[in-house]
């Protein structure tokens, strides 16, 4: 009973947040919706007895990703007139929803046809995860760490200001 109600509340949060995310004109408000969705997701993970996952979700997904995107949004700071002009936003959404609905339905039906009940209520604690992570899944773990490194370097390179090249050329000309 308790779980169902918590689930319902969290689900509402998530749905509301995601719908707000995709329908808002202002970018920052979309980001807020996204934030709520991610928090709700963290809650969902907790509900599914994956403690570490819930923590990781809150820490990384909310604390890093969402905050980062908000930061970028505010940095870019597009004025109202620079925002994209989307006249038929709702029409597009309606028709796309129509297109996507059978797929959703199919996905739901196929997955629910497989498993009808939860097996155990054993919590997947950090101990279990840690053990798995460093035994069976050590290779993906390491690769993901390299991936993070590469992503960091890549982000720095992509977002670099162009002026540096001109400054270097100017300094070369002087010397």
């Amino acid at each position: 009973m308790l779980e169902i109600s918590i689930f319902t509340i969290l689900a509402l949060f998530m749905l509301g947040g995601s719908i707000a995310m995709i329908t808002n004109r202002q970018t920052l408000f979309s980001a807020f919706g996204f934030l709520i969705t991610m928090i709700g997701l963290g809650g969902m993970f907790a509900l599914l007895d994956s403690r570490f996952l819930a923590l990781a979700q809150i820490m990384v997904s909310v604390g890093a990703v969402v905050i980062l995107s908000m930061l970028t949004i505010l940095t870019v700071n597009a004025k109202n007139e620079n925002l994209p002009y989307e006249p038929n936003k709702y029409k597009w959404m309606f028709f796309t929803a129509l297109l996507v609905s059978p797929f959703t339905f199919l996905m739901y039906k196929s997955t629910s046809a497989l498993y009808q009940s939860f097996s155990t209520m054993e919590t997947i604690s950090s101990k279990v995860l840690g053990k798995l992570l460093f035994s069976d899944w050590v290779l993906p773990f390491e690769i993901v760490s390299i991936l993070l490194l590469t992503a960091m370097v890549g982000a720095v390179v992509i977002a670099r200001k162009e002026r540096r090249k001109k400054e270097r050329r100017k300094s070369e000309e002087r010397s």
Binding site: T96, L99, V100, S101, P102, F103, F105, L106, K109
Partner: protein
Amino acid sequence: MLSLIVILPFLSAFLMALVYLENAQKKRYFFYTLVGVGTPLTVTVLSFILGSQVLAGSDTIYQTLLQWIHVDNFNIEIAFMADRLSIVMISFITFIGTLIHIYAAGYMKEDEGYGKFFAYFNLFMGSMLLLVLADNPIMMFIGWELVGLSSYLLIGYYHNESSNITAANKAFILNRVGDFGFIMGISLLFVSLEGSGFTFDSIKEHINMIDKETLSLIGILLFIGAMGKSAQIPLYVWLPDAMAGPTPVSALIHAATMVTAGVYMVARYSFIYIEIPDIGLFIATIGAVSALFAAVIASYQSDIKKILAYSTMSQLGYMFMAVGLGAYSSGIFHVFTHAFFKALLFMGAGAVIIALHHEQNIFKMGGLKNSMKLVYITMFIATLAISGIPPFAGFFSKDAILVIAFATEHYILWGMGALTAMLTAYYMFRLLFTVFLAQPKEAKNLQAVPASMTTPLVILAFGSATVGFLGANEAYGGSAWINTFLSLPDTKLDISHAKEYMLGGLNVLLGLLGMGFAYTLFAKEAEATKVDTLFKKLVVHKFYIDEIYAFFIVKPLLLLSRFIANVIDPRIFDGFINFNVWGYRRSALLFAKLQNGKVRYYALYILIGVSGMSYYLILKLGVI
């Protein structure tokens, strides 16, 4: 050896054409004369050899070259057949042809396209021989077409004048109109025979398979071809215009040989025409009407070659009258004799034209009797022959035809024939007297006529005088040798000798009458006909037939073809295709819009595909 007769002229034409094309400017007079005249001479010798073989009693000679088409029932071989009819035909075709070739060597001596001329001329010889020696209707038709082609090439020989080209086109097109009927006739014949073989012999055997109505239709259709080729009404208008070609061409093609192909055709298909005497009557009527019509027009013409052209048409009418009434041998006999004196007349006319520096109006000539004695004498003989004065050749052949008309009780035809005979004598002597006897308007200085042109005249004059005896009836002491030799299915006549003598005498009388008329009118002073009465006006303008044809047939066709070319073709056909192209372009543009570089749309396309599959799966799997 039979095939050589046909192949040699073609080969020599090909050879001369190659040499001519190699360098058209060089005058290789000796070479062209050697090949161009030597080939017909060789062929003449060959045909005489063959002729003597057949005379000595051997049967029809056959020679098959190769199989050409073999599709189910349709089995055509390139094969030649020399039966008696063919032998008679090739004997005079090659002989007179060679003489005319010799004549042409003199006539065309100064001409630039000498080699071209002889190439065409030999092409014609080969085609005519192919026509006559063919074993089956298809081969004959090939020869038929080739003769028409050679005629076109030779009429338009002086191609710098556009009127000559028009005349050549006219000849070819009218020929084609006739050929349309001819092809239909042959096709109908083939279909009716239902695959029992298609050579003349086998058609003859199986002719009973075809019912009378189809046979009549075939006969008419084949005769339409003859109408075009042999210049009978209504497809005759090309013949006077064909005189635009050089005189040797007129002599050979339009007098002695090509125009007689129609008569030969009827004789060859005699096994059809004896079954359908009504069609034969139709043919004879057309022949008689054409003969009379041409004679009337010829009486008022002033161009020497045109008079001779109409005379040819008139004599051809006689020939058709004969074969139409069932007297095939007499028709062929008249072809035979006519070739001699008509070729002679044309060649003599050519000599006169050359002597007077290409003058062709008879009223500008006159008094040439003393200066061109040889030509005068030979042409006099020929004129006597054509007028039907015994003992020259024309008398026997013409008389035979008129006797047949009388004996089969077709008195109207006989009357037309007799009247034509008188007119023939009249206009031919008119020509002779005006050119040679009448007082000239001014004195002329003549160009010399080479011996190569005059010698054939002598030979042909001799022929005109004598060959008549080959076919003389029993009434005149002959044995009608040519009739028995040809062994064609002639209708048997039942007429007493007395009647024959009467008719013969009547013919002679009419001929002398015509000669007398001409003498009184033209021997002393030749005046061009004054065009005062309406009748004279009609006749001088050839009854305006050319104009009628142009107005009622040519003009509508031209308008129609212009309409199709300018309206239907661009708008409908091109328009349809352009519409298709426009449609494709538009749809291409439409599809190009799909690729707009926006990732969003591409994701949408993927989504559409996925959702389509999902819908399908849901419906199929019945997961609802």
